[in-house]
């Protein structure tokens, strides 16, 4: 236990303000093709949101973002990437759900064996990242409370 804490403290000491970038990890897109998450970097800032069919707050968050998306798009150019971490049990349900919830403005990708989840150090969902147009991660949030999507928008706006 103590060792663990010392390690943690040692890590805390080395803080800098440099940005971390998206890892080169492969996921499946809506059509079932394998792509790298880095392929989505195209100069447009994005919100990357990890979700699963059994995570209620995740779905609430994605629905809330969907409601506000057109208002946000009036002010900034951006996109939303919904990363499903559903495994073989629920991935076909996740594919159906993205359509049935009206998330057709989202880029939906599927991380069936949680490779991207591991690479981005996501322990619990929902977990959202704000990524700039070059693929640098500028903010990270865990959990969702109604209204906290506004914070993501403010962070996207600050990138301008």
């Amino acid at each position: 236990m103590k060792k663990l804490m010392f390690l943690m403290l040692a890590v805390m000491v080395g803080f800098g303000a440099s940005a971390q970038s998206l890892p080169d990890v492969k996921v499946e897109n809506q059509e079932g093709k394998v792509i790298s998450i880095q392929d989505l970097v195209d100069g447009t800032p994005m919100i990357i949101s990890f979700w699963s069919t059994t995570c209620k707050p995740c779905i609430m968050e994605l629905n809330a973002i969907n409601e506000s998306l057109y208002e946000w798009l009036d002010e900034v150019d951006m996109k939303v990437v919904a990363v499903s971490v559903d495994d073989a049990r629920t991935v076909s349900r996740a594919r159906a759900m993205t359509q049935g919830q009206g998330w057709d403005d989202y880029v939906c990708v599927y991380d069936k064996n949680q490779d991207l989840k591991r690479a981005m150090n996501v322990s619990l969902t929902p977990h959202t990242f704000v990524v700039d147009g070059k693929g640098n991660i500028v903010a990270s949030h865990s959990g969702y409370t109604p209204g906290s999507e506004q914070e993501l928008f403010e962070e996207i706006k600050a990138l301008k």
Binding site: M5, S18, Q20, E31, K56, S92, Q114, V122, H141, G147
Partner: protein, 578 residues
């Protein structure tokens, strides 16, 4: 308790020193990232539960404090990455199968996983612990599920090569992790996928065919489990120390229509339940999907016989995490507590074979001009039967094990107000779902839920959830309620309660103590499973503190379930990542 306080102290320091939003660490040209997850429970005595025989403090052989912790550190520099994860149990929480394989009273255990990896444009090599799956995992899957305490990472090597997205070849071999010990049984495999659509240059859809081979070796398996006569029947044994499995898959996707089919065969005798006959196995799985505009449907069919492939054949107490493949339950995984009171747990462990499927329908009704108003409809049906089949020399008889039908409708009325109504009908065979031959009959329940969220303003919101379970058999009726108050984006508090408001006479899992003198349940037996909790979120830190009484039951995640004994206590969960 001291450890617990020390832990909280360190956390407080950590929180203040990392107050800047999304701090990251740059080491040379590379990047270091760290994630910590810590789940702590302080078990408190609960006289009422002890009196009812539901809580057994004497079973808590590791003391009244438990902590499952995971620290993960990764380093990435261009195409190179490396990482280590330490799983620490200080000591472990109760209700995890890991203690099947180690001293039940171990005060401190830890397990290290590590890897180095090189990812080039079209090939990659990884040494160390490997998480991977072939196809949907029916033949091979190594993964981590912290909610269940499973981790079967393969310590060894993996290499893959991809030719223009048309051909992808992958090979791997290693020793799997069995909970918190390393198994001595090597597992190896190869996977080939061919993208026909890429080969012929058809980019409007996708056609691919794939195949895999996986092998496992256990020294002396045939001697440990020979064919023998038991109570007049022949219990078949292992026919080889090596178990070979092969699979074939076909995938098709075109304009909203999708088909995924997979067949896996186990070519040698194998046994997942030490008491049952060893036998060969097979599974067929078909997924169909269709979507048109805002309507979508998905259906899954699966038939499997003796396909659970354990890492190690053991003489007793196998544990749900002792497996190198993944045969998930495909019924809907519920999020409302009463719908999850008696989840379907699968028939395969009981009988070795099942057939069934599920259908999901989704429809979203929305006005493109007013995005703040919409209806979402969802219906789901699933059914599983055990099948008539031979397990070794034994005849297994098929019968219905589970049926459920669920319907939910979500309505966003305006920016402030949202309602969800949910109904679920569940019917199960008590003998199969709870191994309880004494009450071998069908039980069923109707569950009704109303879930309302009201947004007071941009930051404040309230959510209220009411649940009612109606059942004329099993445990009788249940009621549950939750009130949650949110202050976005950082705080959330909640209180909830759940109780068996009508204990049944034959409901031996219920809360009531049957009093043979009065022929009634004692009043004081009405047990409330209350919870109070608060969550604090700040960028990459999430802290959740709760206190309450927890019912014994099955915690299911993905394909498996674990039994969680009842307890009352304080729970501190923390996640931190940067």
């Amino acid at each position: 308790m001291k450890k617990f306080l020390l832990f909280v102290g360190i956390l407080a320091v950590a929180t203040f020193t990392t107050n800047e939003a999304s701090a990251q660490i740059k080491v040379g040209e590379g990047q270091l990232s760290v994630a910590l997850e810590s789940n702590n429970i302080y078990y408190t005595p609960d006289k009422q539960m002890v009196d009812l025989g539901l809580d057994k403090p004497e079973d808590r052989v590791r003391g009244d404090f438990g902590s499952n912790d995971y620290l993960k550190v990764d380093y990435r520099l261009g195409r190179f990455s490396a990482g280590v994860q330490i799983d620490g149990y200080l000591p472990g929480l109760y209700g995890y199968d890991q203690y099947t394989y180690q001293q039940r009273d171990s005060k401190l255990t830890a397990f290290f996983t590590k890897y180095v990896q090189w990812e080039a444009e079209n090939w990659g090599v990884r040494l160390g612990d490997i998480y991977d799956q072939f196809g949907s995992g029916l033949i091979f899957r190594t993964y981590e599920d912290r909610a269940l305490g499973f981790n079967n990472a393969l310590a060894g090597g993996r290499a893959y090569y991809n030719i223009n997205n048309m051909v992808n070849v992958k090979v791997l071999a290693g020793l799997p992790r069995l909970y918190d010990v390393r198994s001595n049984n090597p597992v190896w495999g190869a996977d080939l996928s061919l993208s026909i659509s890429d080969m012929v240059g058809w980019y409007d859809g996708l056609v691919s065919i794939e195949g895999s081979y996986v092998g496992r070796y256990q020294k002396g398996a045939t001697e440990l489990f020979p064919t023998k006569e038991e109570f007049g029947t022949t219990v078949a044994g292992m026919d080889s120390d090596v178990v070979n499995m092969v699979s074939g898959r076909a995938n098709f996707e075109y304009k909203g229509i999708s088909f995924r089919g997979e067949y896996v065969a186990k070519l040698n005798n194998d046994k997942f339940n030490p008491a049952l006959s060893a036998a060969k196995g097979n599974v067929i799985n078909i997924d169909l999907g269709y979507n048109y505009k805002r309507f979508s449907a998905s259906a899954t069919f699966r038939r499997q016989v003796n396909m659970t492939a354990p890492i190690e054949l053991v003489e007793s107490g196998i544990g749900g995490g002792n497996t190198i493949n993944y045969i998930p339950l495909i019924t809907r995984q519920h999020t409302y507590s009463l719908a999850n009171l008696n989840p379907y747990r699968g028939t395969s462990v009981h009988t070795g074979g099942e057939i069934g499927g599920q259908i999901d329908l989704y429809y979203s009704l929305r006005n493109p001009k007013a995005r703040g108003k919409y209806w979402n409809f969802h219906a789901n049906f699933s059914m599983f039967n055990t099948i008539d089949h031979k397990l070794g020399e034994m005849d297994m008889e098929g019968r219905n094990a589970w049926i459920d039908f669920n319907f939910d409708v979500e309505r966003q009325w305006n920016k402030k107000f949202k309602t969800t109504f949910f109904y679920s009908y569940q019917r199960w065979d008590e003998e199969i779902n709870h191994y309880d031959a004494a009450v071998a009959h069908y039980c069923d329940s109707h569950i009704f839920v109303a879930d309302v969220t009201y947004k007071i303003n941009k930051k404040h919101s309230v959510r209220v959830e009411l649940q009612y379970l109606n059942s004329d058999n099993y445990e009788g009726d249940w009621l549950a309620g939750t009130i949650e108050y949110n202050l976005a984006p950082k705080f959330s508090i909640y209180v909830s309660d759940m109780w068996n408001c009508e204990a049944m006479q034959d409901g031996q899992y219920g809360n009531g103590i049957w009093n043979p003198d009065t022929l009634e349940f004692d009043d004081h037996a009405l047990l409330h499973y209350y919870q109070v909790g608060a969550t604090f979120t700040h960028d990459f830190l999430r802290l959740q503190l709760s206190y309450g009484r927890n019912r014994a039951g099955y915690v299911c995640s993905g394909g498996s379930c674990r039994y969680q004994p009842a307890y009352t206590g304080a729970n501190l969960a923390l996640t931190l990542s940067f």
